[in-house]
Amino acid sequence: FRTFPGMPTWRKTHLTYRIVNYTLDLPRDAVDSAIEKALKVWEEVTPLTFSRICEGEADIMITFAVRKHGDFFDFDGPGKVLAHAYPPGPGINGDAHFDDDEQWTKDTSGTNLFLVAAHELGHSLGLQHSDKPEALMYPVYNSSTDLARFRLSQDDVTGIQSLYGPPPASPDDPVKPTESARPQTPAKCDPTLSLDAVTTLRGEILFFKDRHFWRKSLRTLEPGFYLISSFWPSLPSGMDAAYEVTSRDIVFIFKGKQFWAIRGNEVQAGYPRGIHILGFPPSVKKIDAAIFDKQKKKTYFFVEDKYWRFDEKKQSMDPGFPRQIVEDFPGVGPKVDAVFEAFGFFYFFSGSSQLEFDPNAKKVTRILKSNSWFHC
Protein backbone atom coordinates (compact mmCIF):
# COMPACT_ATOMS: atom_id res chain seq x y z
CA PHE A 1 0.00 0.00 0.00
CA ARG A 2 0.99 3.60 -0.33
CA THR A 3 -0.18 6.81 1.27
CA PHE A 4 -0.23 10.27 -0.26
CA PRO A 5 2.86 12.50 0.06
CA GLY A 6 2.93 13.93 3.58
CA MET A 7 0.55 11.20 4.78
CA PRO A 8 -2.58 13.41 5.04
CA THR A 9 -5.22 11.94 7.39
CA TRP A 10 -8.39 13.16 9.01
CA ARG A 11 -7.67 14.56 12.47
CA LYS A 12 -11.06 13.41 13.75
CA THR A 13 -12.67 10.00 13.77
CA HIS A 14 -16.23 11.05 12.95
CA LEU A 15 -16.63 12.21 9.37
CA THR A 16 -19.57 13.54 7.40
CA TYR A 17 -20.45 12.79 3.81
CA ARG A 18 -22.95 14.20 1.38
CA ILE A 19 -24.26 12.77 -1.87
CA VAL A 20 -24.49 15.99 -3.82
CA ASN A 21 -26.25 14.57 -6.91
CA TYR A 22 -27.25 11.27 -8.43
CA THR A 23 -26.61 9.26 -11.56
CA LEU A 24 -29.66 8.38 -13.63
CA ASP A 25 -28.32 4.87 -14.11
CA LEU A 26 -29.53 3.67 -10.72
CA PRO A 27 -32.41 4.37 -8.36
CA ARG A 28 -31.43 6.82 -5.64
CA ASP A 29 -31.72 4.27 -2.88
CA ALA A 30 -29.29 2.01 -4.78
CA VAL A 31 -26.74 4.83 -4.87
CA ASP A 32 -27.31 5.60 -1.17
CA SER A 33 -26.90 1.96 -0.32
CA ALA A 34 -23.71 1.51 -2.42
CA ILE A 35 -22.08 4.52 -0.74
CA GLU A 36 -23.13 3.39 2.73
CA LYS A 37 -21.79 -0.08 2.09
CA ALA A 38 -18.54 1.34 0.73
CA LEU A 39 -18.05 3.47 3.85
CA LYS A 40 -18.82 0.48 6.05
CA VAL A 41 -15.93 -1.40 4.44
CA TRP A 42 -13.52 1.12 5.98
CA GLU A 43 -15.56 1.68 9.16
CA GLU A 44 -15.20 -1.99 10.08
CA VAL A 45 -11.41 -1.91 10.19
CA THR A 46 -10.74 1.54 11.67
CA PRO A 47 -11.99 3.76 14.52
CA LEU A 48 -13.68 5.95 11.87
CA THR A 49 -17.45 6.51 11.77
CA PHE A 50 -19.52 8.29 9.13
CA SER A 51 -22.80 10.15 9.09
CA ARG A 52 -24.68 11.57 6.18
CA ILE A 53 -25.71 15.19 5.81
CA CYS A 54 -28.04 16.45 3.11
CA GLU A 55 -26.95 20.06 2.85
CA GLY A 56 -23.89 22.21 3.46
CA GLU A 57 -20.25 21.24 3.26
CA ALA A 58 -19.43 17.68 4.30
CA ASP A 59 -15.94 16.28 4.77
CA ILE A 60 -16.56 13.97 1.85
CA MET A 61 -18.65 15.44 -0.97
CA ILE A 62 -19.77 12.82 -3.49
CA THR A 63 -20.71 13.91 -7.00
CA PHE A 64 -21.48 12.41 -10.39
CA ALA A 65 -20.14 14.47 -13.28
CA VAL A 66 -19.05 14.28 -16.92
CA ARG A 67 -16.09 15.76 -18.81
CA LYS A 68 -15.08 19.17 -17.37
CA HIS A 69 -16.52 19.37 -13.88
CA GLY A 70 -14.72 22.13 -12.07
CA ASP A 71 -11.44 20.55 -10.99
CA PHE A 72 -8.13 20.03 -12.76
CA PHE A 73 -8.95 16.52 -13.92
CA ASP A 74 -11.64 16.30 -16.59
CA PHE A 75 -13.44 13.02 -17.10
CA ASP A 76 -13.01 11.28 -20.44
CA GLY A 77 -16.32 9.77 -21.55
CA PRO A 78 -17.21 6.08 -21.28
CA GLY A 79 -14.46 3.71 -20.10
CA LYS A 80 -10.89 4.54 -19.12
CA VAL A 81 -11.15 6.80 -16.05
CA LEU A 82 -14.12 5.79 -13.89
CA ALA A 83 -13.71 8.13 -10.94
CA HIS A 84 -11.21 10.01 -8.83
CA ALA A 85 -10.97 11.28 -5.28
CA TYR A 86 -8.85 13.60 -3.20
CA PRO A 87 -6.85 12.89 -0.04
CA PRO A 88 -8.05 14.15 3.38
CA GLY A 89 -8.21 17.88 3.98
CA PRO A 90 -10.47 20.91 3.64
CA GLY A 91 -12.36 22.04 0.53
CA ILE A 92 -12.14 19.68 -2.42
CA ASN A 93 -9.89 17.37 -0.41
CA GLY A 94 -11.68 14.25 0.73
CA ASP A 95 -14.19 14.56 -2.13
CA ALA A 96 -15.02 11.75 -4.55
CA HIS A 97 -16.13 12.31 -8.16
CA PHE A 98 -17.70 9.62 -10.35
CA ASP A 99 -17.74 9.79 -14.16
CA ASP A 100 -21.40 9.73 -15.14
CA ASP A 101 -20.50 8.67 -18.66
CA GLU A 102 -19.99 5.20 -17.16
CA GLN A 103 -22.90 2.79 -16.90
CA TRP A 104 -23.21 2.47 -13.10
CA THR A 105 -24.78 -0.77 -11.91
CA LYS A 106 -25.56 -2.66 -8.73
CA ASP A 107 -23.99 -5.81 -10.15
CA THR A 108 -20.97 -6.21 -12.43
CA SER A 109 -22.86 -6.03 -15.73
CA GLY A 110 -21.74 -2.41 -16.01
CA THR A 111 -19.40 -0.61 -13.63
CA ASN A 112 -20.23 -1.59 -10.09
CA LEU A 113 -20.76 1.54 -8.03
CA PHE A 114 -20.01 -0.07 -4.66
CA LEU A 115 -16.58 -1.34 -5.78
CA VAL A 116 -15.54 1.95 -7.30
CA ALA A 117 -16.93 3.94 -4.35
CA ALA A 118 -15.11 1.75 -1.82
CA HIS A 119 -11.87 2.35 -3.76
CA GLU A 120 -12.39 6.12 -4.08
CA LEU A 121 -13.33 6.47 -0.42
CA GLY A 122 -10.03 4.75 0.37
CA HIS A 123 -8.40 7.77 -1.30
CA SER A 124 -10.71 10.11 0.63
CA LEU A 125 -9.33 8.56 3.82
CA GLY A 126 -5.68 8.85 2.77
CA LEU A 127 -4.70 5.70 0.89
CA GLN A 128 -2.88 6.00 -2.43
CA HIS A 129 -2.85 3.15 -4.92
CA SER A 130 -1.55 -0.27 -3.97
CA ASP A 131 0.60 -2.38 -6.27
CA LYS A 132 -1.13 -5.55 -5.06
CA PRO A 133 -3.60 -6.73 -7.74
CA GLU A 134 -5.80 -8.33 -5.07
CA ALA A 135 -6.11 -5.06 -3.13
CA LEU A 136 -9.17 -2.83 -3.36
CA MET A 137 -6.73 0.07 -3.80
CA TYR A 138 -5.17 -1.43 -6.96
CA PRO A 139 -5.84 1.21 -9.64
CA VAL A 140 -7.35 -1.04 -12.33
CA TYR A 141 -11.04 -1.95 -12.05
CA ASN A 142 -11.62 -5.67 -11.64
CA SER A 143 -14.97 -6.64 -13.13
CA SER A 144 -14.57 -10.24 -11.96
CA THR A 145 -14.65 -9.35 -8.26
CA ASP A 146 -17.03 -11.61 -6.38
CA LEU A 147 -19.37 -9.06 -4.76
CA ALA A 148 -21.00 -11.60 -2.46
CA ARG A 149 -17.64 -12.47 -0.94
CA PHE A 150 -16.08 -9.04 -1.09
CA ARG A 151 -13.49 -8.35 1.58
CA LEU A 152 -10.59 -5.98 1.95
CA SER A 153 -7.19 -7.49 1.29
CA GLN A 154 -4.63 -7.59 4.06
CA ASP A 155 -2.77 -4.86 2.20
CA ASP A 156 -5.80 -2.53 2.36
CA VAL A 157 -6.32 -3.27 6.06
CA THR A 158 -2.66 -2.77 6.92
CA GLY A 159 -2.65 0.44 4.90
CA ILE A 160 -5.68 2.07 6.47
CA GLN A 161 -4.71 0.91 9.95
CA SER A 162 -1.28 2.49 9.46
CA LEU A 163 -3.17 5.79 9.23
CA TYR A 164 -5.94 5.34 11.81
CA GLY A 165 -5.22 2.19 13.81
CA PRO A 166 -7.65 -0.71 14.32
CA PRO A 167 -11.24 -0.30 15.49
CA PRO A 168 -11.62 0.03 19.26
CA ALA A 169 -12.48 -3.22 21.02
CA SER A 170 -15.73 -3.04 22.92
CA PRO A 171 -15.94 -5.31 25.98
CA ASP A 172 -19.73 -5.15 25.66
CA ASP A 173 -19.69 -6.71 22.22
CA PRO A 174 -20.59 -10.36 22.51
CA VAL A 175 -18.59 -12.72 20.31
CA LYS A 176 -21.13 -13.79 17.72
CA PRO A 177 -20.94 -17.38 16.62
CA THR A 178 -20.85 -17.76 12.87
CA GLU A 179 -22.51 -20.37 10.74
CA SER A 180 -19.95 -19.77 8.05
CA ALA A 181 -17.33 -22.41 7.43
CA ARG A 182 -14.77 -19.61 7.20
CA PRO A 183 -12.78 -19.42 10.43
CA GLN A 184 -13.11 -16.28 12.55
CA THR A 185 -10.16 -13.93 12.74
CA PRO A 186 -8.16 -15.29 15.69
CA ALA A 187 -7.53 -13.03 18.69
CA LYS A 188 -3.94 -13.18 19.89
CA CYS A 189 -4.85 -12.71 23.54
CA ASP A 190 -7.65 -15.28 23.60
CA PRO A 191 -6.70 -17.52 26.57
CA THR A 192 -7.99 -20.54 24.66
CA LEU A 193 -5.88 -19.80 21.57
CA SER A 194 -4.27 -22.83 19.97
CA LEU A 195 -1.83 -22.66 17.07
CA ASP A 196 -1.50 -24.65 13.86
CA ALA A 197 2.25 -24.32 13.37
CA VAL A 198 5.17 -22.20 14.55
CA THR A 199 8.53 -21.61 12.91
CA THR A 200 11.40 -19.22 12.87
CA LEU A 201 12.13 -17.30 9.67
CA ARG A 202 15.30 -15.27 9.34
CA GLY A 203 15.41 -14.43 13.03
CA GLU A 204 11.69 -13.80 13.45
CA ILE A 205 9.03 -16.17 14.73
CA LEU A 206 5.90 -16.96 12.71
CA PHE A 207 2.81 -18.29 14.51
CA PHE A 208 0.28 -19.75 12.06
CA LYS A 209 -3.44 -19.97 12.76
CA ASP A 210 -6.07 -20.74 10.09
CA ARG A 211 -5.65 -18.19 7.26
CA HIS A 212 -3.46 -15.83 9.29
CA PHE A 213 -0.12 -15.63 11.01
CA TRP A 214 1.51 -13.47 13.61
CA ARG A 215 5.04 -12.32 12.83
CA LYS A 216 7.12 -11.61 15.93
CA SER A 217 10.51 -10.02 15.97
CA LEU A 218 12.45 -10.34 19.21
CA ARG A 219 13.21 -6.63 18.89
CA THR A 220 9.56 -5.58 19.09
CA LEU A 221 6.89 -6.29 21.68
CA GLU A 222 3.81 -6.35 19.46
CA PRO A 223 3.59 -8.99 16.74
CA GLY A 224 2.32 -8.09 13.26
CA PHE A 225 -0.77 -9.93 12.04
CA TYR A 226 -1.15 -10.93 8.39
CA LEU A 227 -3.01 -13.13 5.95
CA ILE A 228 -0.83 -16.04 4.85
CA SER A 229 -1.99 -15.35 1.29
CA SER A 230 -0.65 -11.80 1.43
CA PHE A 231 2.90 -13.15 1.71
CA TRP A 232 2.61 -16.52 -0.03
CA PRO A 233 -0.52 -16.65 -2.25
CA SER A 234 -0.02 -20.31 -3.17
CA LEU A 235 0.36 -21.65 0.38
CA PRO A 236 -2.60 -23.40 2.02
CA SER A 237 -4.37 -22.10 5.11
CA GLY A 238 -4.75 -24.26 8.20
CA MET A 239 -1.27 -25.69 7.90
CA ASP A 240 -0.09 -28.59 10.05
CA ALA A 241 3.59 -27.91 10.67
CA ALA A 242 6.49 -25.67 9.71
CA TYR A 243 10.21 -25.56 10.36
CA GLU A 244 13.21 -23.56 9.22
CA VAL A 245 16.49 -25.04 8.06
CA THR A 246 18.54 -21.98 8.92
CA SER A 247 21.66 -23.21 7.15
CA ARG A 248 19.74 -23.35 3.85
CA ASP A 249 17.55 -20.28 4.45
CA ILE A 250 14.47 -22.39 3.78
CA VAL A 251 11.22 -22.90 5.65
CA PHE A 252 9.24 -26.06 5.00
CA ILE A 253 5.46 -25.91 5.39
CA PHE A 254 3.33 -29.03 5.80
CA LYS A 255 -0.34 -29.66 5.23
CA GLY A 256 -1.80 -33.14 4.89
CA LYS A 257 0.36 -35.31 2.67
CA GLN A 258 2.09 -32.36 1.00
CA PHE A 259 4.84 -29.92 1.85
CA TRP A 260 6.11 -26.65 0.38
CA ALA A 261 9.42 -24.82 0.62
CA ILE A 262 9.67 -21.05 0.97
CA ARG A 263 12.65 -18.74 0.92
CA GLY A 264 11.67 -15.32 2.25
CA ASN A 265 8.43 -14.48 0.49
CA GLU A 266 9.03 -16.81 -2.45
CA VAL A 267 7.53 -20.27 -2.67
CA GLN A 268 10.18 -22.48 -4.25
CA ALA A 269 9.61 -24.15 -7.61
CA GLY A 270 8.97 -27.89 -7.65
CA TYR A 271 6.62 -27.85 -4.65
CA PRO A 272 4.34 -29.05 -3.19
CA ARG A 273 5.87 -32.48 -2.85
CA GLY A 274 4.54 -35.57 -1.09
CA ILE A 275 5.67 -36.13 2.50
CA HIS A 276 6.40 -39.79 1.81
CA ILE A 277 9.53 -38.92 -0.17
CA LEU A 278 11.00 -37.96 3.22
CA GLY A 279 10.70 -41.58 4.32
CA PHE A 280 7.40 -41.71 6.15
CA PRO A 281 5.36 -44.91 5.86
CA PRO A 282 2.06 -44.69 3.92
CA SER A 283 0.14 -44.82 7.21
CA VAL A 284 1.30 -41.26 8.01
CA LYS A 285 -1.36 -38.91 6.66
CA LYS A 286 -0.14 -35.67 8.23
CA ILE A 287 2.62 -34.16 10.35
CA ASP A 288 1.57 -32.49 13.62
CA ALA A 289 4.73 -30.47 14.25
CA ALA A 290 8.35 -30.22 13.15
CA ILE A 291 11.57 -28.65 14.38
CA PHE A 292 15.12 -28.43 13.03
CA ASP A 293 17.87 -28.93 15.60
CA LYS A 294 20.64 -26.58 14.47
CA GLN A 295 23.31 -28.25 16.59
CA LYS A 296 22.66 -31.80 15.42
CA LYS A 297 21.45 -30.88 11.91
CA LYS A 298 18.46 -33.15 12.48
CA THR A 299 14.77 -32.47 12.01
CA TYR A 300 12.22 -33.99 14.37
CA PHE A 301 8.78 -34.74 12.94
CA PHE A 302 5.99 -35.26 15.47
CA VAL A 303 3.06 -37.45 14.40
CA GLU A 304 0.42 -38.40 16.98
CA ASP A 305 2.33 -39.77 20.02
CA LYS A 306 5.48 -40.65 18.04
CA TYR A 307 8.32 -38.80 16.38
CA TRP A 308 10.68 -39.41 13.47
CA ARG A 309 14.21 -38.01 13.11
CA PHE A 310 15.38 -36.80 9.69
CA ASP A 311 19.05 -36.25 8.88
CA GLU A 312 19.23 -32.99 6.90
CA LYS A 313 22.80 -33.74 5.73
CA LYS A 314 22.01 -37.22 4.43
CA GLN A 315 18.47 -36.23 3.45
CA SER A 316 17.07 -39.43 4.89
CA MET A 317 15.24 -40.68 7.95
CA ASP A 318 17.42 -42.01 10.73
CA PRO A 319 16.94 -45.70 11.44
CA GLY A 320 15.25 -46.77 14.66
CA PHE A 321 12.33 -44.38 14.31
CA PRO A 322 9.52 -43.66 15.07
CA ARG A 323 9.93 -43.51 18.82
CA GLN A 324 7.45 -42.51 21.49
CA ILE A 325 7.58 -38.74 22.14
CA VAL A 326 7.32 -39.27 25.88
CA GLU A 327 10.45 -41.44 25.96
CA ASP A 328 12.80 -38.76 24.65
CA PHE A 329 10.83 -35.61 25.49
CA PRO A 330 9.56 -36.42 28.99
CA GLY A 331 6.66 -34.20 30.01
CA VAL A 332 5.75 -33.42 26.39
CA GLY A 333 2.76 -34.82 24.52
CA PRO A 334 1.33 -37.29 23.99
CA LYS A 335 0.42 -35.11 21.00
CA VAL A 336 1.76 -31.68 19.97
CA ASP A 337 0.32 -28.97 17.70
CA ALA A 338 3.50 -27.03 16.96
CA VAL A 339 7.10 -26.60 18.06
CA PHE A 340 9.96 -24.19 17.44
CA GLU A 341 13.37 -23.41 18.92
CA ALA A 342 14.51 -20.22 20.64
CA PHE A 343 17.47 -19.50 22.95
CA GLY A 344 18.41 -23.20 22.95
CA PHE A 345 15.00 -24.29 24.24
CA PHE A 346 12.30 -26.16 22.33
CA TYR A 347 8.84 -24.64 22.76
CA PHE A 348 6.06 -27.21 22.34
CA PHE A 349 2.45 -26.09 21.80
CA SER A 350 -0.55 -28.22 22.67
CA GLY A 351 -4.00 -26.62 22.78
CA SER A 352 -3.75 -23.40 24.79
CA SER A 353 -0.59 -24.57 26.62
CA GLN A 354 3.07 -24.22 25.79
CA LEU A 355 5.96 -26.16 27.31
CA GLU A 356 9.52 -24.86 27.43
CA PHE A 357 11.76 -27.89 27.04
CA ASP A 358 15.50 -28.00 27.63
CA PRO A 359 16.86 -30.53 25.07
CA ASN A 360 20.15 -30.91 26.95
CA ALA A 361 18.65 -31.52 30.39
CA LYS A 362 15.77 -33.40 28.68
CA LYS A 363 13.13 -31.85 30.89
CA VAL A 364 10.31 -29.32 30.82
CA THR A 365 11.52 -26.11 32.42
CA ARG A 366 8.39 -23.93 32.21
CA ILE A 367 4.69 -24.20 31.44
CA LEU A 368 3.29 -21.20 29.59
CA LYS A 369 0.15 -20.12 27.73
CA SER A 370 0.29 -20.64 23.96
CA ASN A 371 0.17 -16.86 23.42
CA SER A 372 3.00 -16.01 25.84
CA TRP A 373 5.01 -14.44 22.97
CA PHE A 374 2.28 -11.93 22.08
CA HIS A 375 2.72 -9.40 24.89
CA CYS A 376 -0.88 -9.87 26.09
Binding site: F73, L82, A83, H84, T111, H129
Partner: protein
Protein backbone atom coordinates in the same frame (compact mmCIF):
# COMPACT_ATOMS: atom_id res chain seq x y z
CA UNK B 1 -3.96 10.76 -45.93
CA UNK B 2 -5.78 8.19 -43.80
CA UNK B 3 -3.52 5.74 -42.02
CA UNK B 4 -3.86 2.06 -42.77
CA UNK B 5 -5.31 -0.16 -39.99
CA UNK B 6 -2.06 -1.43 -38.51
CA UNK B 7 -0.41 1.97 -38.51
CA UNK B 8 -3.48 3.56 -36.91
CA UNK B 9 -3.53 0.89 -34.19
CA UNK B 10 0.11 1.52 -33.44
CA UNK B 11 -0.41 5.27 -33.33
CA UNK B 12 -3.43 4.87 -31.03
CA UNK B 13 -1.34 2.70 -28.72
CA UNK B 14 1.43 5.29 -28.66
CA UNK B 15 -1.07 8.01 -27.75
CA UNK B 16 -2.56 5.83 -25.06
CA UNK B 17 0.84 5.09 -23.57
CA UNK B 18 1.98 8.69 -23.72
CA UNK B 19 -1.15 9.94 -21.97
CA UNK B 20 -1.17 7.08 -19.51
CA UNK B 21 2.39 7.75 -18.43
CA UNK B 22 1.78 11.50 -18.27
CA UNK B 23 -1.42 11.14 -16.26
CA UNK B 24 -0.48 8.39 -13.85
CA UNK B 25 3.31 8.18 -13.78
CA UNK B 26 4.39 11.83 -13.94
CA UNK B 27 5.99 11.57 -17.37
CA UNK B 28 7.05 15.03 -18.51
CA UNK B 29 4.63 16.32 -21.14
CA UNK B 30 7.44 17.09 -23.60
CA UNK B 31 8.80 13.53 -23.76
CA UNK B 32 8.13 12.88 -27.44
CA UNK B 33 9.10 10.08 -29.82
CA UNK B 34 9.39 7.84 -26.84
CA UNK B 35 8.83 4.54 -28.61
CA UNK B 36 11.94 4.90 -30.75
CA UNK B 37 14.37 5.67 -27.95
CA UNK B 38 16.94 3.43 -26.32
CA UNK B 39 16.46 1.51 -23.10
CA UNK B 40 17.90 4.31 -21.01
CA UNK B 41 15.27 6.87 -22.06
CA UNK B 42 13.05 8.34 -19.34
CA UNK B 43 10.02 6.95 -21.18
CA UNK B 44 11.33 3.39 -21.14
CA UNK B 45 12.11 3.82 -17.47
CA UNK B 46 8.55 5.06 -16.91
CA UNK B 47 7.16 2.06 -18.79
CA UNK B 48 9.25 -0.21 -16.59
CA UNK B 49 8.09 1.64 -13.48
CA UNK B 50 4.47 1.25 -14.59
CA UNK B 51 4.93 -2.44 -15.43
CA UNK B 52 6.49 -3.08 -12.03
CA UNK B 53 3.73 -1.20 -10.21
CA UNK B 54 0.95 -2.96 -12.09
CA UNK B 55 2.51 -6.38 -11.49
CA UNK B 56 3.36 -6.94 -15.17
CA UNK B 57 6.52 -8.46 -16.60
CA UNK B 58 9.07 -5.65 -16.61
CA UNK B 59 10.32 -5.37 -20.18
CA UNK B 60 10.25 -1.64 -20.84
CA UNK B 61 8.45 -2.53 -24.06
CA UNK B 62 4.81 -2.14 -24.99
CA UNK B 63 3.88 -5.79 -25.18
CA UNK B 64 0.29 -6.92 -25.56
CA UNK B 65 -0.14 -7.70 -21.83
CA UNK B 66 0.93 -4.19 -20.92
CA UNK B 67 -1.38 -2.57 -23.48
CA UNK B 68 -4.24 -4.79 -22.35
CA UNK B 69 -3.95 -3.62 -18.74
CA UNK B 70 -3.58 0.01 -19.82
CA UNK B 71 -6.83 -0.23 -21.79
CA UNK B 72 -8.80 -1.47 -18.77
CA UNK B 73 -10.97 1.03 -16.90
CA UNK B 74 -9.24 2.46 -13.85
CA UNK B 75 -9.19 5.11 -11.16
CA UNK B 76 -8.04 8.52 -12.30
CA UNK B 77 -5.76 9.19 -9.33
CA UNK B 78 -2.07 8.96 -10.36
CA UNK B 79 -0.42 5.75 -9.20
CA UNK B 80 2.71 7.48 -8.00
CA UNK B 81 3.11 10.70 -6.05
CA UNK B 82 5.60 13.42 -6.83
Amino acid sequence: LPLNGAARDEEDSMDLVQHYLEDYYNLAKDAKQFAKRKDSSPVVKKIQEMQKFLGLKVTGKLDSDTLQVMRKPRCGVPDLGE
